[in-house]
Symmetry: C2
Subunit: 126 residues, 2 copies
Amino acid sequence: MSNNDENKGEACHRSRCPVSCLLELIGDKWTLLVVRDLLFDKHTFKELQSSPEKIPTNILADRLKRLEHSGLVRREQYQERPKRYAYHLTEKGQDLNPVMESMILWSNKHIPETYKLEDILNLGSE
Amino acid sequence: MSNNDENKGEACHRSRCPVSCLLELIGDKWTLLVVRDLLFDKHTFKELQSSPEKIPTNILADRLKRLEHSGLVRREQYQERPKRYAYHLTEKGQDLNPVMESMILWSNKHIPETYKLEDILNLGSE
DNA sequence: CCACTTACTTCCATTTTGCAAGTGACTAGA
DNA sequence: TCTAGTCACTTGCAAAATGGAAGTAAGTGG
């Protein structure tokens, strides 16, 4: 990361459309799954890696870096020796909750067999 | 559409997570922009092509096919000679509106200079 | 006939993905 | 001390996806 990269949180946008701009941050098959897991109290690399969709580790590392760079996620050391890191959503990241919720509602209506919100919470505590 | 195509709207999912399943349909940088345009009354290939993000034509054709295949979009001929086609959202596709709205709210809050909903509607009528 | 339009398709170099294997730092046990 | 194991990644590489440009098919209008 050079100095030039840092002054703007983001690179130049394709347009000023809010949908387009958000898609530049989360527009792919994996990023929102990471956000989902962070919302549902998974915080270490290991925990994020072990989700049922089986995200490849290089993709996970990349997405965490991007999310951190775009200010949605904060990486913090939770242990000194050996050094271990945990990832947490910033407020900006947590604000994606309504997006996530509307997506869940859509899928529950249109894709049979998808887990309801309660199912997800129950699964998490098993 | 044959009977065979219909029973499988989709291939096998990565998981039964509603977020993951929806991402298999719209999880990329372009698909939701097409849905956005269809929501905002753009219906021909030409119109969709001319959005400010400048989607490549091969990607647009591919995304329209996928959206049609997953039942979010319907392709219909609106003119006989020469044959011309228009794309419209099905009810399933229109139901993505709340997702779109929550995304717009997020961007308006967190990304400066993004258009508000009114701005978008005004631009459309110019 | 020629230019022009719409709705795509094809070609191909570059980029991104996805899988497997490897690395570095450390701990705990024989 | 040697060995195995854990966590948090990184690296290598083949395969797939993307993006830009050019081409094509089917028409219209002059």
